[in-house]
Symmetry: C2
Subunit: 455 residues, 2 copies
């Protein structure tokens, strides 16, 4: 029996555990699921005979070292900032490791030691980062192999509600950490490059600078820029590409309405407000509007945000019940973002039978034999239920597949890695197709940004 | 001879030095002017027989301690963060001290030692903070003495260009540190209270939430909220006041046009842009607009900011030459704010004969004998020239007057102080009138925010 240790039994671990347990007999695997909460770990283990739940506090060095020593490979599903301690132990005890998180500077710094010990630390092998890397690199490498020259790479990912469960005007529900959705885009301007020109979008313009994207059978989406697209140039070997842009997907109309919250200031997470415990939703919104005892909160909001009487944005705001004078925020010393999250969670929490959806859209513009071409590649994954969500599947399955392939010596590359090498992404993408996680490619006319060469 | 040591010979020190030297014979004073640059110190000393220029590096402990030991009182005109080292030495060697800066936490913490040694550390005795405190407290205390109950306190200060030197469409020039003007309002929402309701204005709305103020003979100004008005409740003894609001003054129309820069994102000082050294003004603005090779920077800006063809904002923007394709930013690794400052400095730098202006406006609403009343108090000070600016006068004169009064035992209050006590503000305000720094008071009908009691 080989032992796989999973540290961290969060929401995203369900599909990973199911995948590994489904393969446990054939692969001769014992799965140890370790979490601060033994209950969490037990829930995932489901009394499966090849699964063992254990309580583990990663800040207890003895416990942590013992668990890692006993394993053949370690998967860390902890919050990203806690990986490094596990990683250092894996170096110390010569264990391979897998995470779905971005490679931190500390993790990167282990690369020399990891290589010296002949180990594989596979990171960024969830959905975003993860499936985005693999699916993009597969197309990029195939274009480059044919001698094509990349002109443009755009890539968008969204965690959304599935069409069959989409029953609100925002066409949005929380399918992941709500806080990240409320503060999305904060902390610096979005930076990217288009036809050689560097572009910057500040937070206050981010939700007004969207572009539309169409996915066959799924309709229209809108993409808004992520903070840093430029770092992907070196990761993908696209140092000289004139256009690179990464973004987040929402359903059409979300961003324009969300911008009301951005402009009001209710997404700010940097300071706490006075007396949020007893504050009504209406008072909360009114706190960000001019004082006037003779005008309604509604009219002040319409006027200050210039929302016409018949603008659908208004229906979206009313749907959230933000003008309710009776409902209380009920949180002590809340930031505006925390108060807003409270209001949104009431409406945007998935119902028991709701399903989520992960959508990915890549555009590849390139020149081959003097001709400009474009490939659009899209992937849509729908969750099964609220345990095996699309998010849990698209994060957990690549992690699980990579883990088995490292364990079985099918992936042998050494070092602190991302899944950007053909020997890694090809077999994993192929296996993901068994789980209906697959990309549809369409060849399109390359339009670029200046189809008629006008100036 | 008594020795006054001034540490820091910056721009704001001219009027202070002149005031003290003018009094040096009668008061039997020797003035030591210490600066990192001996040249700076010498310029201020003007070979006056009672002045001595010296080079002083405040990080050289021996030098610093010696200079402070030799003095009878110490004025620190250093940047605020450097006061604390001087303050600790003043405690050590039993010297009184004066600064024009806000009381820092570190300074506050010295209060016990300062009192124990029987010393006076007078802070916040420039213009803002300084004259604002003194003039506000004088009226507040007089209302309270009569038995009045405060309903409202609003206070605005602006550093502007004098009317006779006002020759641009923004009615603005840099009369102080340009960087502070470019980043003004950043770093958190403005927070204040109006008729018992806490209000928050995020940066992206700050320049759209102005109010107009009229000063006889000087016309209209607009006020925009400062970040923290609430702290003044405890300083002024206004804990229960239902309305308190502090703000900054500009000429009417400034804020609406400045908001274009805020929305574009060009006031951001938190990240550096690519290749700003060779970037033209036009390219700089274009970096914040959507990519489109077929549309002009002008049209993209008009469209994205919804600026009509005949809107005066446009003339303001054109006046700054922001669309010039030839002029270069010429700064390496500049932040957007630094690049914008470079552009603005070309147009907003005072010409040799230009004069500056300090404007202050207080509104006091109160109830006395069942009647609601209002006093508006205004002060305008115009600079003499580019050495003895209004800024240098209004900062330096209260510092100088306070220094003499402490030295002469006329101000005897002990501890780390602000000028909020009658024994301090009354004599200083009286002496400031000799320099034409005086407040005009007008009694007005109290309007509050709901004159007709409508709801």
């Amino acid at each position: 029996m080989r032992t796989i240790l999973i540290i961290g039994a969060g929401k995203s671990t369900s599909s990973l555990v199911r995948f590994l347990l489904d393969h446990s007999e054939a692969e001769n695997i014992k799965l140890k699921i370790a979490d601060l909460s033994l209950d969490n770990a037990k829930k995932l283990a489901r009394n499966h005979k090849n699964a063992e739940a254990m309580a583990l506090d990663i800040f207890e060095e003895d416990q942590r070292e013992k668990a890692i020593q006993d394993a053949d490979i370690v998967i860390s599903m902890l919050p990203a900032r806690f990986h490094i301690q596990v990683a250092k132990d894996c170096v110390k005890f010569n264990k391979n490791m897998v995470t779905a998180s971005y490679v931190s500077k500390e993790m990167e710094a282990l690369d020399g030691d990891v290589k010296a010990n002949g180990l594989t630390f596979m990171n960024e092998i969830g959905v975003d980062p993860g499936i985005d890397h693999m699916s993009a690199m597969q197309v990029l490498d195939s274009i480059r192999e044919k001698g094509g020259k990349m002109l443009m790479f755009e890539s968008f990912t969204g965690g959304l509600v599935a069409p069959e469960s989409d029953d609100n005007l925002w066409h949005y529900k929380f399918t992941w950490n709500p806080r990240n959705v409320v503060v999305a885009g904060q902390g610096g301007a979005a930076e990217f490059i288009q036809e050689g020109q560097y572009k910057y979008i500040p937070y206050q313009r981010l939700f007004r600078r969207t572009e539309f994207l169409q996915i066959p059978k799924y309709g229209r989406f809108e993409g808004l820029a992520n903070r840093n697209s430029l770092a992907y140039r070196s990761i993908y070997g696209l140092e000289d590409i004139p256009t690179i842009y990464r973004g987040t997907l929402r359903r059409v109309g979300f961003s324009k309405a969300w911008n009301v919250f951005v402009q009001l200031g209710v997404t700010d997470d940097t300071y706490t407000m006075q007396d949020t415990e007893n504050m009504s939703y209406r008072e909360f919104i009114n706190s960000f509007l001019p004082y006037s005892p003779t005008d309604s909160v509604e009219l002040k909001l319409r006027q200050s945000m210039k929302i016409d009487q018949d603008d659908l944005i208004w229906d979206k705001l009313e749907e959230l019940d933000i003008f309710n004078p009776k409902k209380k925020i009920g949180l002590k010393d809340a930031t505006p973002a925390q108060a807003l999250q409270k209001i949104l969670e009431e409406k945007w929490t998935l119902k028991p039978d709701d399903k989520d959806m992960i959508v990915m859209y890549h555009k590849f513009g390139y020149e081959l034999n003097g001709e400009k071409k474009q490939i659009d590649s899209t992937m849509v994954s729908i969750g099964e239920d609220q345990t095996y969500t699309a998010m849990a599947k698209t994060v957990g399955l690549p992690v699980g597949i990579a883990t088995l392939k490292i364990l079985n010596g099918e992936i042998t590359k050494k070092g602190v890695l991302r899944p950007i090498h053909p020997e890694v992404y090809n077999p994993i993408l192929k296996e993901l197709e068994n789980f209906n996680i697959k990309f549809e490619e369409r060849e399109r006319e390359y339009l670029g940004y200046n189809p008629d060469n006008l100036n």
